[in-house]
Amino acid sequence: MTALRMTEPLLRAENLTMRFGGITAVKQVAFAVAPGEIVGLIGPNGAGKTTCFNMLTGFYAPTEGRVFFKGTDITSHRPHAIARLGLIRSFQKTNVMKRLTVFENVLTGHYMEGRQSLLATFFPGEKVRRAEREARESAAAIVETMGLSRRMNAPAHLLSCGELRLLEVAVALAAKPTLLMLDEPAAGLNSHEAMLFGETLKTLIGKAVQSLLIVEHNMELVMGVCDRIVVLNFGQMLAEGEPREILDNPKVAEAYLGKAAA
């Protein structure tokens, strides 16, 4: 663990602050994600977790503070530019392309690998064709990994809530992230499914992705997979540490866990 902390972190947030009119949703938040790490970001409702995600991925411009990814300053870069650096996210509110099939959703996720000049679009050479073939194969493989192969050719609007969450992760994986950020990926899964999902996540590390940053309210999942946890409360950092430390932290218990901790 300590060895990991010494290396340059993959993602580093410095003093992030976000104000909406009179409301300060996030205030002076600073944390980092190292390569190979799974970090949990937790906190009460309205603590500012999703807002942090939005600032890190360029959907909001922070009022104050900086974001560094792989050593470059990406503060207020546009979302797609940040995605192209390998920082891929999912959304808290289910977001998929509803009218496309599961396979098409995931295939579309391969966009960055297949980017090409307009000329190549109109007059595709062998290279483009090969890239297209590879994308199709990779898409099928990812659908398989996420356990959606049964639904391969079903339009996404036919999926149930839980399946949609899995599809979202599949699409994000298709974009070949270095750091994958998931916002409540297990919401809507029951405890059993959440556990299986946690296992899947762990297998991704080091293979499909380098690091993970997860927002989640399912404590079993968070405690089970995270190497380190950052806790927000009222937009500010409340605590940071390994899962055990966090569980034992009375302030966290009071603000976040409630009776569950008692």
């Binding site: 991925t57 959907f59 546009r78 979302p79 797609h80 530019a81 995605a83 192209r84 891929i88 996210r89 999912s90 959304f91 977001n95 998929v96 392309m97 509803k98 009218r99 496309l100 099939t101 098409e104 295939l107 579309t108 996720g109 391969h110 966009y111 960055m112 297949g114 980017r115 090409q116 307009l118 679009t121 109109f122 007059f123 595709p124 483009v128 890239a131 297209e132 994308a135 050719n153 339009p155 609007h157 036919l158 699409v171 994000a172 298709a174 974009a175």
Partner: protein
């Protein structure tokens, strides 16, 4: 996707064989107009069906193309083979400029701001008498050149070939998928690295270019260009074609263009009742085939258990 391509090819061959089968110039004229409209409808479909934003200002590009070709022909004596591509290029440049402003907007705002551009251009064309001859328009475009309908048919078929080749490549490419992603869900698109603005721009400019080509052809074929090319009634015709045929497919607008062109002509028999009936038919089609004819075909195929390959059916009514 191959099915769609093959049907398009077959239609093209059929149209090419037409002059050998019929000598009636009126039928050939209708064929030329139908193909012209197919190009136009396809170019609008790139924006409506693939960017997913509804443009009411597509006549801006038709019009700039038509005026460009007309001016080059009348003032500089350019022949058709040079003036029509130039029309496409000028329209594409307009597309770039207009897109830069309008593509930042979405939904109804996009609808009305594109309409505004078309109207501004119409008013300019109507009043910049020095350049456009104002309401008098530019007459005698390409006069003394081609007069034969079969030649025009060949030319418009060539343009259609270019149009559908480019559109087909675009739609079934990575870039086309990106456009669909933006249409379906802007947030997801951005999070997988798609630049919504850039992607929309590509489709928009391609649409503008193709509409410009069609406009250039129109100028030479009708041999007169006036401010009405920017008019909303023109726009309405194209919209009806795209939506009636089914947006978001390559085949739909072609089908729509052929049907509407023929319908408008054959309803002539009904004299005064003609347009009322046309309005009723348009309404009936929406009510009974809400996703256009191609949507209907796709739905039937889906129900028979074939893979849904033509257009995604919409089934989001219930919840």
């Amino acid at each position: 996707m191959t099915l769609e391509r093959n049907i398009l090819l077959a239609l093209g061959v059929l149209a090419a064989l037409l002059p050998f089968a019929v000598t009636d110039q009126y039928v050939l004229h209708l064929a030329v107009m139908a193909i012209f409209y197919a190009i136009l409808a396809n170019s609008l479909n790139l924006v409506v069906g693939y960017v997913g934003e509804f443009s009411l200002g597509h006549t801006a590009f038709l019009g700039t193309g038509a005026y460009t070709a007309a001016l080059l022909s009348v003032n500089a004596g350019w022949p058709m083979w040079a003036a029509v591509p130039a029309a496409g290029v000028v329209a594409a440049l307009f597309g770039l400029a207009i897109g830069a402003i309008t593509l930042r907007l979405q939904g109804p705002y996009f609808v009305i701001v594109t309409l505004s551009f078309a109207e501004v251009l119409r008013i300019v064309a109507n009043n910049w008498i020095g350049l456009t001859n104002g309401p008098m328009g530019l007459a005698g475009v390409g006069q003394g050149g081609i007069a034969d309908k079969t030649v025009f048919l060949a030319i418009v078929l060539g343009l259609a070939a270019v149009t559908f080749y480019l559109s087909y490549r675009f739609v079934y490419s990575n870039a086309g998928r990106a456009a669909v992603a933006v249409r379906e869900n802007r947030y997801v698109a951005q999070s997988i690295g798609v630049n919504p603005f850039g992607t929309a721009m590509q489709a928009f400019v391609l649409g503008a270019f193709l509409a410009g080509l069609a406009g250039g052809f129109y100028a030479f074929y009708i041999s007169f260009v006036g401010p009405e090319v920017f008019r909303f009634s023109f726009m309405a015709t194209i919209i009806i074609m795209v939506l009636m045929g089914g947006k978001g497919t390559l085949l739909g607008p072609v089908v729509g263009a052929v049907i509407v062109t023929l319908l408008e002509e054959y309803l002539r028999e009904l004299q005064e009742l003609r347009l009322s009936l046309f309005g009723l038919i348009v309404m009936a089609i929406v009510l009974f085939l809400p996703n256009g004819l191609m949507g209907f075909v796709a739905r039937r195929r889906e129900q028979r258990g074939d893979a849904p390959s033509l257009s995604p059916a919409i089934e989001e009514r219930t919840v």
